[in-house]
Protein backbone atom coordinates (compact mmCIF):
# COMPACT_ATOMS: atom_id res chain seq x y z
CA UNK A 1 0.00 0.00 0.00
CA UNK A 2 1.06 3.56 -0.61
CA UNK A 3 1.61 6.10 2.08
CA UNK A 4 1.56 9.73 1.01
CA UNK A 5 3.30 12.65 2.67
CA UNK A 6 1.93 15.95 1.32
CA UNK A 7 3.20 19.49 1.59
CA UNK A 8 1.32 20.88 4.58
CA UNK A 9 -1.80 22.62 3.45
CA UNK A 10 -2.28 25.19 6.19
CA UNK A 11 -0.51 28.51 6.48
CA UNK A 12 2.47 28.77 8.80
CA UNK A 13 2.74 25.04 9.29
CA UNK A 14 6.43 24.26 8.98
CA UNK A 15 6.46 20.65 10.17
CA UNK A 16 6.13 17.58 8.00
CA UNK A 17 4.62 14.20 8.84
CA UNK A 18 7.38 12.06 7.44
CA UNK A 19 11.13 12.40 7.17
CA UNK A 20 13.62 10.36 5.19
CA UNK A 21 14.36 8.28 8.29
CA UNK A 22 10.73 7.34 8.81
CA UNK A 23 10.37 6.70 5.10
CA UNK A 24 13.03 4.05 5.53
CA UNK A 25 11.04 2.52 8.38
CA UNK A 26 7.85 2.44 6.35
CA UNK A 27 9.51 0.93 3.33
CA UNK A 28 11.05 -1.65 5.61
CA UNK A 29 7.54 -2.63 6.63
CA UNK A 30 6.63 -3.28 3.00
CA UNK A 31 4.90 0.02 2.27
CA UNK A 32 5.49 2.34 -0.65
CA UNK A 33 5.93 6.02 0.12
CA UNK A 34 4.96 9.02 -1.96
CA UNK A 35 6.32 12.39 -0.93
CA UNK A 36 5.09 15.62 -2.44
CA UNK A 37 8.00 17.68 -3.67
CA UNK A 38 9.06 20.28 -1.12
CA UNK A 39 7.24 18.63 1.76
CA UNK A 40 10.32 18.65 3.95
CA UNK A 41 11.49 22.11 3.02
CA UNK A 42 11.10 23.76 6.41
CA UNK A 43 12.37 20.71 8.21
CA UNK A 44 15.50 20.86 6.03
CA UNK A 45 14.71 17.50 4.42
CA UNK A 46 15.37 17.80 0.73
CA UNK A 47 13.56 15.91 -1.96
CA UNK A 48 16.87 14.28 -2.75
CA UNK A 49 17.10 12.96 0.77
CA UNK A 50 13.62 11.48 0.52
CA UNK A 51 14.55 9.90 -2.77
CA UNK A 52 17.70 8.49 -1.27
CA UNK A 53 15.57 6.92 1.43
CA UNK A 54 13.52 5.20 -1.27
CA UNK A 55 10.51 7.49 -1.50
CA UNK A 56 8.74 8.38 -4.66
CA UNK A 57 8.78 12.15 -4.98
CA UNK A 58 5.63 13.42 -6.67
CA UNK A 59 4.61 16.87 -7.74
CA UNK A 60 1.09 17.01 -6.36
CA UNK A 61 -0.80 16.29 -3.19
CA UNK A 62 -0.91 12.51 -2.81
CA UNK A 63 -4.64 12.39 -2.08
CA UNK A 64 -6.23 10.01 -4.57
CA UNK A 65 -2.89 8.42 -5.35
CA UNK A 66 -1.77 7.15 -1.94
CA UNK A 67 -3.95 4.94 0.24
CA UNK A 68 -2.80 6.51 3.45
CA UNK A 69 -2.22 10.24 3.80
CA UNK A 70 -0.20 11.33 6.79
CA UNK A 71 0.05 14.99 7.65
CA UNK A 72 0.40 17.34 10.59
CA UNK A 73 -2.50 19.60 9.85
CA UNK A 74 -5.61 18.02 8.45
CA UNK A 75 -6.13 18.16 4.70
CA UNK A 76 -8.33 20.94 3.39
CA UNK A 77 -11.87 19.94 2.52
CA UNK A 78 -10.87 20.17 -1.12
CA UNK A 79 -7.96 17.79 -0.65
CA UNK A 80 -10.13 15.48 1.40
CA UNK A 81 -12.60 15.39 -1.41
CA UNK A 82 -10.00 13.56 -3.51
CA UNK A 83 -9.78 10.73 -1.00
CA UNK A 84 -11.35 7.41 -1.93
CA UNK A 85 -13.41 5.05 0.11
CA UNK A 86 -11.26 3.15 2.55
CA UNK A 87 -8.41 5.62 2.33
CA UNK A 88 -6.82 6.48 5.62
CA UNK A 89 -5.74 9.86 6.95
CA UNK A 90 -3.67 10.54 9.98
CA UNK A 91 -3.27 14.09 11.30
CA UNK A 92 -4.28 16.45 14.09
CA UNK A 93 -7.91 16.75 13.05
CA UNK A 94 -8.82 19.10 15.87
CA UNK A 95 -12.28 17.59 15.58
CA UNK A 96 -14.09 20.49 17.14
CA UNK A 97 -12.85 22.89 14.52
CA UNK A 98 -13.83 21.92 11.03
CA UNK A 99 -17.24 20.58 10.51
CA UNK A 100 -17.02 20.86 6.73
CA UNK A 101 -13.91 18.72 6.52
CA UNK A 102 -15.38 16.05 8.71
CA UNK A 103 -18.49 15.92 6.60
CA UNK A 104 -16.33 15.28 3.56
CA UNK A 105 -14.42 12.51 5.36
CA UNK A 106 -17.62 10.83 6.43
CA UNK A 107 -19.14 11.21 3.02
CA UNK A 108 -16.13 9.70 1.29
CA UNK A 109 -15.99 6.83 3.80
CA UNK A 110 -12.48 7.75 4.71
CA UNK A 111 -10.94 6.22 7.83
CA UNK A 112 -9.61 9.27 9.63
CA UNK A 113 -7.39 9.08 12.66
CA UNK A 114 -6.91 12.14 14.78
CA UNK A 115 -3.87 12.25 17.02
CA UNK A 116 -5.72 14.73 19.23
CA UNK A 117 -7.91 11.89 20.34
CA UNK A 118 -5.23 9.33 21.17
CA UNK A 119 -5.88 7.71 24.57
CA UNK A 120 -3.04 8.62 26.96
CA UNK A 121 -2.39 5.00 27.91
CA UNK A 122 0.96 3.39 28.37
CA UNK A 123 0.97 1.42 25.18
CA UNK A 124 0.12 4.49 23.09
CA UNK A 125 3.07 6.50 24.30
CA UNK A 126 5.20 5.99 21.22
CA UNK A 127 2.35 7.38 19.14
CA UNK A 128 1.53 10.22 21.48
CA UNK A 129 2.03 13.24 19.28
CA UNK A 130 0.28 15.50 21.77
CA UNK A 131 3.08 14.74 24.21
CA UNK A 132 5.88 15.03 21.70
CA UNK A 133 4.64 18.35 20.36
CA UNK A 134 3.93 19.62 23.86
CA UNK A 135 7.55 18.89 24.65
CA UNK A 136 8.56 21.19 21.83
CA UNK A 137 6.03 23.81 22.86
CA UNK A 138 7.17 23.85 26.47
CA UNK A 139 10.79 24.27 25.51
CA UNK A 140 10.06 26.93 22.94
CA UNK A 141 7.83 28.85 25.32
CA UNK A 142 10.87 29.52 27.48
CA UNK A 143 13.00 30.44 24.48
CA UNK A 144 10.37 32.87 23.28
CA UNK A 145 10.02 34.36 26.72
CA UNK A 146 13.77 34.64 27.24
CA UNK A 147 14.24 36.28 23.83
CA UNK A 148 11.59 38.86 24.57
CA UNK A 149 12.57 39.53 28.16
CA UNK A 150 14.78 42.60 28.50
CA UNK A 151 16.45 40.86 31.42
CA UNK A 152 18.57 37.86 32.20
CA UNK A 153 17.01 34.64 33.44
CA UNK A 154 20.04 33.51 35.49
CA UNK A 155 21.56 35.29 38.44
CA UNK A 156 24.90 37.03 38.03
CA UNK A 157 27.13 38.55 40.63
CA UNK A 158 29.42 40.92 38.77
CA UNK A 159 31.67 43.84 39.36
CA UNK A 160 28.83 46.04 38.12
CA UNK A 161 26.43 44.72 40.71
CA UNK A 162 24.29 41.67 41.12
CA UNK A 163 21.56 40.66 38.71
CA UNK A 164 18.91 38.69 40.56
CA UNK A 165 17.54 35.57 38.91
CA UNK A 166 14.33 36.01 36.98
CA UNK A 167 11.18 34.64 38.53
CA UNK A 168 9.18 32.41 36.27
CA UNK A 169 5.65 31.29 37.02
CA UNK A 170 4.29 28.34 35.08
CA UNK A 171 0.54 27.82 35.16
CA UNK A 172 -0.52 24.33 34.21
CA UNK A 173 1.97 21.52 34.65
CA UNK A 174 1.05 19.13 31.88
CA UNK A 175 3.69 17.95 29.47
CA UNK A 176 4.39 21.42 28.08
CA UNK A 177 4.30 23.02 31.49
CA UNK A 178 6.74 20.55 32.97
CA UNK A 179 9.13 21.06 30.08
CA UNK A 180 8.86 24.81 30.48
CA UNK A 181 9.67 24.41 34.16
CA UNK A 182 12.70 22.26 33.38
CA UNK A 183 14.00 24.60 30.70
CA UNK A 184 13.58 27.74 32.78
CA UNK A 185 15.31 26.04 35.68
CA UNK A 186 18.18 25.05 33.43
CA UNK A 187 18.62 28.66 32.50
CA UNK A 188 18.86 29.55 36.16
CA UNK A 189 15.46 31.11 36.73
CA UNK A 190 13.63 30.69 40.01
CA UNK A 191 10.58 28.73 38.99
CA UNK A 192 7.26 28.11 40.62
CA UNK A 193 4.28 26.35 39.15
CA UNK A 194 0.68 25.56 39.77
CA UNK A 195 -1.74 22.97 38.46
CA UNK A 196 -5.15 21.81 39.59
CA UNK A 197 -4.32 18.13 39.31
CA UNK A 198 -3.21 16.57 42.58
CA UNK A 199 -0.40 14.59 40.95
CA UNK A 200 1.19 17.76 39.64
CA UNK A 201 2.62 18.81 42.96
CA UNK A 202 5.04 15.94 43.17
CA UNK A 203 5.83 16.21 39.49
CA UNK A 204 6.69 19.88 39.77
CA UNK A 205 8.90 19.19 42.74
CA UNK A 206 10.56 16.35 40.90
CA UNK A 207 11.92 19.03 38.59
CA UNK A 208 13.35 20.99 41.47
CA UNK A 209 10.80 23.79 41.20
CA UNK A 210 8.49 25.17 43.84
CA UNK A 211 4.87 24.16 43.75
CA UNK A 212 2.45 26.94 44.48
CA UNK A 213 0.14 25.66 47.18
CA UNK A 214 -3.22 27.32 46.77
CA UNK A 215 -6.20 26.91 48.96
CA UNK A 216 -8.16 25.27 46.14
CA UNK A 217 -9.53 21.81 45.69
CA UNK A 218 -7.41 19.55 43.50
CA UNK A 219 -8.46 17.09 40.83
CA UNK A 220 -7.60 13.49 40.18
CA UNK A 221 -7.02 11.85 36.82
CA UNK A 222 -4.89 12.35 33.78
CA UNK A 223 -6.76 15.34 32.44
CA UNK A 224 -8.21 18.27 34.30
CA UNK A 225 -11.94 18.71 34.12
CA UNK A 226 -13.60 21.99 33.40
CA UNK A 227 -13.64 24.24 36.42
CA UNK A 228 -16.51 26.40 37.53
CA UNK A 229 -16.29 30.14 37.07
CA UNK A 230 -16.24 30.61 40.84
CA UNK A 231 -13.30 28.26 41.08
CA UNK A 232 -11.44 30.21 38.42
CA UNK A 233 -12.36 33.48 40.06
CA UNK A 234 -10.85 32.26 43.30
CA UNK A 235 -7.82 30.88 41.51
CA UNK A 236 -7.17 34.22 39.83
CA UNK A 237 -7.41 35.96 43.15
CA UNK A 238 -4.96 33.60 44.75
CA UNK A 239 -2.34 33.63 42.01
CA UNK A 240 -2.55 37.40 41.42
CA UNK A 241 0.12 38.04 44.01
CA UNK A 242 2.48 35.48 42.46
CA UNK A 243 1.89 36.85 38.99
CA UNK A 244 2.78 40.28 40.27
CA UNK A 245 6.03 38.95 41.65
CA UNK A 246 7.08 37.23 38.42
CA UNK A 247 9.19 38.42 35.53
CA UNK A 248 7.86 35.73 33.24
CA UNK A 249 4.56 33.90 33.21
CA UNK A 250 4.13 30.86 31.00
CA UNK A 251 0.59 29.56 30.92
CA UNK A 252 -0.27 26.15 29.57
CA UNK A 253 -3.53 25.29 31.33
CA UNK A 254 -5.91 23.38 29.11
CA UNK A 255 -8.91 21.16 29.31
CA UNK A 256 -9.21 18.78 26.39
CA UNK A 257 -11.98 19.69 24.03
CA UNK A 258 -12.85 22.88 25.89
CA UNK A 259 -11.93 26.50 25.94
CA UNK A 260 -8.90 27.05 28.08
CA UNK A 261 -9.55 28.55 31.53
CA UNK A 262 -8.81 32.26 31.92
CA UNK A 263 -6.21 32.58 34.63
CA UNK A 264 -4.56 35.95 34.08
CA UNK A 265 -6.46 39.18 33.57
CA UNK A 266 -5.18 42.53 32.43
CA UNK A 267 -5.34 43.91 35.94
CA UNK A 268 -3.07 41.18 37.10
CA UNK A 269 -0.60 41.98 34.34
CA UNK A 270 -0.39 45.61 35.33
CA UNK A 271 1.02 44.64 38.68
CA UNK A 272 3.97 42.86 37.08
CA UNK A 273 7.40 44.53 36.88
CA UNK A 274 7.75 46.66 33.74
CA UNK A 275 9.28 44.71 30.91
CA UNK A 276 7.85 41.38 32.05
CA UNK A 277 6.82 38.82 29.48
CA UNK A 278 3.85 36.50 29.41
CA UNK A 279 3.74 33.56 27.02
CA UNK A 280 0.31 32.01 26.64
CA UNK A 281 0.62 28.53 25.17
CA UNK A 282 -3.13 28.15 25.41
CA UNK A 283 -3.78 31.16 23.17
CA UNK A 284 -5.09 29.05 20.34
CA UNK A 285 -7.69 27.36 22.49
CA UNK A 286 -9.04 30.58 23.90
CA UNK A 287 -6.17 31.71 26.03
CA UNK A 288 -5.26 31.57 29.71
CA UNK A 289 -4.50 35.27 29.49
CA UNK A 290 -7.31 37.63 28.68
CA UNK A 291 -5.13 39.82 26.52
CA UNK A 292 -3.49 37.12 24.46
CA UNK A 293 -4.19 36.50 20.84
CA UNK A 294 -2.60 33.68 18.86
CA UNK A 295 0.57 34.68 17.05
CA UNK A 296 0.57 38.23 18.33
CA UNK A 297 2.63 40.31 20.69
CA UNK A 298 0.45 42.64 22.67
CA UNK A 299 1.61 45.21 25.17
CA UNK A 300 -0.53 45.55 28.24
CA UNK A 301 0.97 48.52 29.98
CA UNK A 302 4.66 47.68 30.17
CA UNK A 303 4.07 43.93 29.99
CA UNK A 304 4.43 42.01 26.77
CA UNK A 305 1.91 39.24 26.17
CA UNK A 306 2.83 36.74 23.50
CA UNK A 307 0.11 34.39 22.34
CA UNK A 308 1.52 31.18 21.01
CA UNK A 309 0.41 30.03 17.61
CA UNK A 310 1.53 26.65 16.46
CA UNK A 311 4.56 26.80 18.70
CA UNK A 312 6.04 23.48 17.52
CA UNK A 313 6.32 24.87 13.99
CA UNK A 314 8.92 27.30 15.25
CA UNK A 315 11.31 24.37 15.59
CA UNK A 316 10.45 22.37 12.51
CA UNK A 317 13.39 19.96 12.34
CA UNK A 318 12.97 18.32 15.69
CA UNK A 319 9.23 18.83 15.95
CA UNK A 320 8.91 17.03 12.62
CA UNK A 321 11.23 14.30 13.69
CA UNK A 322 9.18 13.54 16.77
CA UNK A 323 5.90 13.81 14.90
CA UNK A 324 7.09 11.67 12.01
CA UNK A 325 8.17 8.96 14.41
CA UNK A 326 4.83 9.07 16.19
CA UNK A 327 3.11 8.67 12.85
CA UNK A 328 5.41 5.88 11.75
CA UNK A 329 4.82 4.10 15.04
CA UNK A 330 1.07 4.40 14.55
CA UNK A 331 1.37 3.02 11.03
CA UNK A 332 3.48 0.16 12.33
CA UNK A 333 0.68 -0.69 14.75
CA UNK A 334 -1.70 -0.97 11.82
CA UNK A 335 0.52 -2.61 9.24
CA UNK A 336 0.61 -6.33 8.55
CA UNK A 337 2.46 -7.78 5.56
CA UNK A 338 2.72 -4.47 3.77
CA UNK A 339 -0.97 -3.68 4.24
CA UNK A 340 -2.31 -0.98 6.49
CA UNK A 341 -5.30 -2.63 8.12
CA UNK A 342 -6.36 -0.84 11.27
CA UNK A 343 -7.90 -3.15 13.85
CA UNK A 344 -10.61 -0.95 15.29
CA UNK A 345 -11.16 -3.23 18.22
CA UNK A 346 -7.78 -2.15 19.48
CA UNK A 347 -8.31 0.35 22.28
CA UNK A 348 -5.69 2.76 21.00
CA UNK A 349 -6.77 2.78 17.36
CA UNK A 350 -10.43 2.86 18.25
CA UNK A 351 -9.75 5.76 20.55
CA UNK A 352 -8.29 8.00 17.89
CA UNK A 353 -10.40 6.97 14.95
CA UNK A 354 -12.82 9.80 14.14
CA UNK A 355 -14.50 8.59 11.01
CA UNK A 356 -14.68 5.14 9.50
CA UNK A 357 -16.82 3.56 6.80
CA UNK A 358 -19.03 6.59 6.55
CA UNK A 359 -19.60 6.80 10.24
CA UNK A 360 -18.68 9.53 12.70
CA UNK A 361 -17.38 7.55 15.67
CA UNK A 362 -17.15 10.36 18.16
CA UNK A 363 -19.53 12.98 19.29
CA UNK A 364 -18.34 16.36 18.23
CA UNK A 365 -18.44 18.90 20.99
Amino acid sequence: MRVGIPVEARPAERRVAGLPETVTTLIGAGLTVDVQAGAGRHAHASDAAYRAAGANVIADHPAGQSDVIVSVQPPTPEQAAALREGDITISFLQPSGERELIDVLVANKVTAFSLDLLPRVTRAQSVDALSSQALVAGYRAVMEAASRLPKFLPMFTTAAGTIPPAKVLVLGAGVAGLQAIATARRLGAVVEAYDVRAAAKEEVKSLGARFLELDLETQQGVYAEAQSETFLERQRELIAERVAASDVVISTAAIPGRKAPVLVTNDMLKAMPPGSVVVDLAAESGGNVTASSPGEEIWVGEVLVYGAKNMPSSMPVHASRLYARNVANLLMMMTKDGQVVPDLTDEVLAGCCLTHAGELRRELP
Binding site: P164, V190, K205, G208, R210
Partner: protein, 107 residues
Protein backbone atom coordinates in the same frame (compact mmCIF):
# COMPACT_ATOMS: atom_id res chain seq x y z
CA UNK B 1 55.99 -15.44 82.58
CA UNK B 2 54.64 -16.31 79.16
CA UNK B 3 51.28 -15.17 80.47
CA UNK B 4 52.71 -11.75 81.10
CA UNK B 5 54.08 -11.84 77.56
CA UNK B 6 50.66 -12.80 76.24
CA UNK B 7 49.18 -9.94 78.19
CA UNK B 8 51.82 -7.70 76.73
CA UNK B 9 51.06 -8.83 73.18
CA UNK B 10 47.34 -8.50 73.63
CA UNK B 11 47.77 -5.08 75.20
CA UNK B 12 49.93 -4.01 72.27
CA UNK B 13 47.14 -5.13 70.03
CA UNK B 14 44.51 -3.26 71.92
CA UNK B 15 46.74 -0.19 72.00
CA UNK B 16 47.21 -0.33 68.25
CA UNK B 17 43.60 -1.02 67.40
CA UNK B 18 42.21 1.58 69.68
CA UNK B 19 44.05 4.56 68.30
CA UNK B 20 44.59 3.43 64.74
CA UNK B 21 42.07 5.81 63.21
CA UNK B 22 42.45 8.99 65.14
CA UNK B 23 42.21 12.33 63.38
CA UNK B 24 45.01 14.81 63.45
CA UNK B 25 43.30 17.30 65.65
CA UNK B 26 43.10 14.71 68.41
CA UNK B 27 46.76 13.80 68.25
CA UNK B 28 47.77 16.15 71.01
CA UNK B 29 44.89 15.39 73.41
CA UNK B 30 45.40 11.70 72.85
CA UNK B 31 49.09 11.98 73.53
CA UNK B 32 48.34 13.96 76.63
CA UNK B 33 45.72 11.46 77.79
CA UNK B 34 48.10 8.56 77.26
CA UNK B 35 50.68 10.55 79.14
CA UNK B 36 48.34 10.82 82.10
CA UNK B 37 47.72 7.10 81.96
CA UNK B 38 51.35 6.15 82.27
CA UNK B 39 51.20 8.10 85.49
CA UNK B 40 49.88 4.77 86.77
CA UNK B 41 53.47 4.32 87.85
CA UNK B 42 52.08 6.06 90.91
CA UNK B 43 50.69 2.67 91.87
CA UNK B 44 54.17 1.21 91.68
CA UNK B 45 55.58 4.11 93.62
CA UNK B 46 52.99 3.69 96.39
CA UNK B 47 53.62 -0.03 96.55
CA UNK B 48 57.39 0.24 96.95
CA UNK B 49 57.14 3.09 99.38
CA UNK B 50 54.52 1.21 101.31
CA UNK B 51 56.90 -1.58 101.99
CA UNK B 52 60.12 0.41 102.14
CA UNK B 53 61.95 0.46 105.45
CA UNK B 54 65.24 2.19 104.82
CA UNK B 55 65.44 5.94 104.73
CA UNK B 56 66.97 6.00 101.24
CA UNK B 57 64.28 3.79 99.83
CA UNK B 58 61.57 5.81 101.54
CA UNK B 59 63.00 9.05 100.27
CA UNK B 60 63.36 7.80 96.74
CA UNK B 61 59.90 6.21 96.89
CA UNK B 62 58.25 9.34 98.19
CA UNK B 63 59.92 11.39 95.52
CA UNK B 64 58.62 8.89 92.96
CA UNK B 65 55.14 9.21 94.45
CA UNK B 66 55.36 12.97 94.19
CA UNK B 67 56.54 12.93 90.59
CA UNK B 68 54.01 10.31 89.55
CA UNK B 69 51.21 12.30 91.17
CA UNK B 70 52.21 15.38 89.23
CA UNK B 71 52.16 13.26 86.10
CA UNK B 72 48.71 11.89 86.87
CA UNK B 73 46.80 14.93 87.99
CA UNK B 74 48.52 17.36 85.65
CA UNK B 75 48.01 14.98 82.77
CA UNK B 76 44.31 14.50 83.20
CA UNK B 77 43.59 18.14 83.91
CA UNK B 78 45.56 19.42 80.98
CA UNK B 79 43.91 16.90 78.68
CA UNK B 80 40.51 17.96 79.84
CA UNK B 81 41.35 21.57 79.12
CA UNK B 82 42.43 20.69 75.62
CA UNK B 83 39.19 18.90 75.04
CA UNK B 84 37.01 21.81 75.94
CA UNK B 85 36.65 22.68 72.26
CA UNK B 86 34.65 19.52 71.72
CA UNK B 87 32.06 20.49 74.22
CA UNK B 88 29.70 22.80 72.42
CA UNK B 89 28.34 20.58 69.70
CA UNK B 90 24.70 20.79 68.80
CA UNK B 91 22.37 18.22 67.43
CA UNK B 92 21.70 17.94 63.74
CA UNK B 93 19.07 20.04 62.07
CA UNK B 94 16.74 18.42 59.56
CA UNK B 95 18.15 18.32 56.06
CA UNK B 96 17.07 21.16 53.89
CA UNK B 97 16.50 20.06 50.35
CA UNK B 98 18.61 22.13 48.03
CA UNK B 99 16.21 21.70 45.19
CA UNK B 100 13.21 23.20 46.81
CA UNK B 101 15.29 25.88 48.36
CA UNK B 102 15.21 28.07 45.29
CA UNK B 103 12.85 30.60 46.59
CA UNK B 104 12.40 34.28 46.85
CA UNK B 105 15.56 36.10 45.97
CA UNK B 106 14.57 39.72 46.11
CA UNK B 107 16.23 42.42 44.12
Amino acid sequence: MIDLLTIFVLAVFVGFEVVSKVSTILHTPLMSGANAIHGVILVGAILITGRAEHALEITLGLFAVFLATVNVVGGFVVTDRMLEMFKGHRTAKPVKSAANGHKEVGE
